[in-house]
Symmetry: D2
């Protein structure tokens, strides 16, 4: 149903973030609620933007706005597991970035979930499209899995 798919194995990902689950991530059915997977995506992306890209989420002139996300759920995650979130950049555009993300249980090479996460960068005040800041671009380039698109 989605034409592009994040790969479901570890070696496809150049960068990982460890995300411990929380008690309340589990829902009535005893596994991590589907909604929460997107919080892992969100956290993996923004941790990279802040840590490597020095994004100033309080006062930076440009911010990343989410315009599309998607996830396929392959197997259950459960508190108190710690999840390894693999992150890569499928497209590094002029003002948008397409991330591919896979979530792995400890020791598993088959992803429990695979997803997409698309940011468009906008001016914080006007919310109109803005150029991807240079520091962000530099931080994301090592995560690219394909040639950078023309600017």
């Amino acid at each position: 149903m989605m034409t592009s798919l994040a790969p479901p194995f570890r070696k496809a990902y150049p960068h990982f973030v460890a995300i411990p689950t929380r008690w309340m991530d589990n829902d009535t059915y005893g596994h991590v609620n589907n909604v929460v997977y997107y919080s892992y995506f969100d956290t993996a992306v923004n941790a990279q933007l802040i840590g490597a890209g020095h994004l100033d989420i309080r006062a930076g002139a440009a911010i990343g706005i989410v315009v599309e996300t998607a996830c396929r759920f392959h197997r259950a995650l459960t508190f108190p597991e710690t999840i390894d979130a693999g992150l890569r950049v499928a497209r590094l555009g002029n003002s948008s970035v397409v991330y591919e993300i896979a979530l792995f249980r400890a020791g598993d090479d088959d992803a429990a979930a695979t997803g997409r996460f698309v940011h468009v960068w906008v001016d914080r005040a006007t919310r109109r499209p803005a150029q991807l800041p240079d520091a962000i671009r530099s931080a994301l380039r090592p995560l690219c899995v394909a040639p950078e698109s023309a600017r």
Copy 2:
């Protein structure tokens, strides 16, 4: 990027659920966090399953497991708005159901977000695919927008 899209206008939806936002739905950027939209999807679907379909989420023999979701974000939502979630069924299969959902701000006919939400029904204990329970099928049939697929 997704081949099928939920329509972004109200008249496409036979059923609506009102979902008040909460203070903590807003994130650092002052709008509802992308993750939370999926909680609105989840709530709209399950409220219908419980309310009209008499789903017993504690002890019913079959439960709906989420296998795929997706969302496109068209405009911001913000606490303290109340959201109208439009719900319809794009495919009512033997053991799976594809929902299309759109989120509307009060008074807007253009959706703030549109998404997909795919359930596969499984046996609660074994987590193997199960037939969609009859009461659930009856509750969902009025939400179908296309002929029911052969059983």
Copy 3:
């Protein structure tokens, strides 16, 4: 263990906010997770501040910072219930406000939970204590259950 207690019956509360539960509010034990009750508190308080007090959460000069909360859990809440949150002001100070809150299941006069929520108002930029804005004070005065403390 707490010296002051919010009363556990409806008639003690001059103001109510209806808060529908969400699917993911339920945890592994099949009832609303204890953490989420505080989200109901937070939402009831801020809905009043924004609705009646015209608080500008994006740009207002003063903001309310939470310095203390507490909750006693008397009976379970469960999705898909809608909760009635009763709200009153136990102390309306110069820069702080003490709220008492009770959560009721539909039709119940005995509270499912009772709690306290204490705001200190601060300057948005410096985070130093600020006077409670006049519009907020006016919005809260009808919720007071005791004489306003000297200003």
Copy 4:
């Protein structure tokens, strides 16, 4: 307002759990929402019960139900910080346990927040009070800061 207070310094705590913050933990005011602190409490307690006490959250005969929590907020926490949650047991009763918890920013000895978390153990099916399971008692005894109450 609370008669007992969790101590706000590290050396008071025999056990720590590292809890990375998440993007959506931050609210409109740019810091971790007050509600989320309780999720850190919940996670620290249950991680210990499952890890050291072998609590079976899916099928164990007895479960811990939260009957009271409280928190004082001393300073802001902000994503992407990792929090150190200090945990100790103030009272290990026949069927109830009183935890004291403090949350520390990395490198800080002054707690950002201090709180209480009270569990009553009940039978999973009947929800009537049950004896604290022996494995749980053994797991919690090293966290006790006062003589165990008579059984």
